[in-house]
Symmetry: C2
Subunit: 193 residues, 2 copies
Amino acid sequence: MARVGLVASRVTTAAADLADKVGFDKVTLSAVARILGIAEPSMYSHVRSVAELRKGVAVLAATELADCIGEALAGRAGKDALVAFSNAYREFARTCPGRYTATHIQLTEEELSRSTGHQRIFAMTMAMFRAYDLSEGELTDAVRLVRSSLHGFVSLESIGGFGHPRDVQKSWENGIEAIHVMLTEWPSSGAAR
Amino acid sequence: MARVGLVASRVTTAAADLADKVGFDKVTLSAVARILGIAEPSMYSHVRSVAELRKGVAVLAATELADCIGEALAGRAGKDALVAFSNAYREFARTCPGRYTATHIQLTEEELSRSTGHQRIFAMTMAMFRAYDLSEGELTDAVRLVRSSLHGFVSLESIGGFGHPRDVQKSWENGIEAIHVMLTEWPSSGAAR
DNA sequence: GGCGACTTCCTATGGCCCATAGGTTGCAGC
DNA sequence: GCTGCAACCTATGGGCCATAGGAAGTCGCC
């Protein structure tokens, strides 16, 4: 029988593409095997389990998201950077919903520290926020809130959570604007804390 | 053989409890059947499919969440209401993670309009926001953003998304404070739009 | 060239889950 | 007591995850 001649990365990209097409939770060993044209148990020559396959997608997706954000952020600062970051983030979530979901699965401390994508996204986020005048603790609080807002927005959007006729794009733009104002006027910013 | 004498609501609460215990995605017909002490196919006397079972949990959970929020909101207004709402929301998500997840599954327009829980949560949210001076469009934008922030925060928190040593409770409190400021200073608030 | 080791891939099997088909039994109402 | 329904059953099949154990292609080395 003809060898397909797979490499691990090919398996992961196939899984990631499938995730974007049918949803991350429907990424299954048998489905990926079908796509690759091999029998189901043959998958175990490339991955140890379905969980590991999904973690592979997570790491890949984080790398790609980091690339998108890095590109958007290049040469920008302040509010300009915030808008570019947010738009790149949402764009990624919309075009690659499966990959986006994957970036939010639980990884161990160990796995997370080895995922350069996750690390880079974190670093770029922190760097962007230094434009605002926030103390150490405030910085973490603000990062957590903004991250929550962006993640929440694109998550709710993806599941059709915004039923009101109001244009979602408009809400997004105004929301980012409001977040910028919030960061500028962060409570007790500048005061001792 | 002794009849268990089930009613549909008993099946749904068992499923909801299971969801809180092991995760909403692990709510399975066979697991619920085991808990109830009946054979797997007997489940089909009570629900049409696993999807319908999960939708039942979603409707139940929304009702309970609406109750929690309603109780927290009683007699409060303005910032006080925002804080009470947010805390009740997060408290629910923490104590009933499976139910919380359930409230975010996709329902049809039809199902949504018949879920009084979902309706009540929406209505209470809108009512709470009337304390802030926002135009029609701004109101929707603000509701969407705050909903995103709260949902995003509790979601990220539940998956261990906040790795930094900074106290998460502190971030939460300061975040709500910042959201209040943001709503008060909403961009172009009061201006023609 | 040919031998061995590794890798890729296979069939067979079993467990768990969803779902349907078709039968049995308890109970309510006449 | 009989009828009809609702609650429950066994049997079966399909999809998925996973392991066991074997076959075949490929590479290095003599």
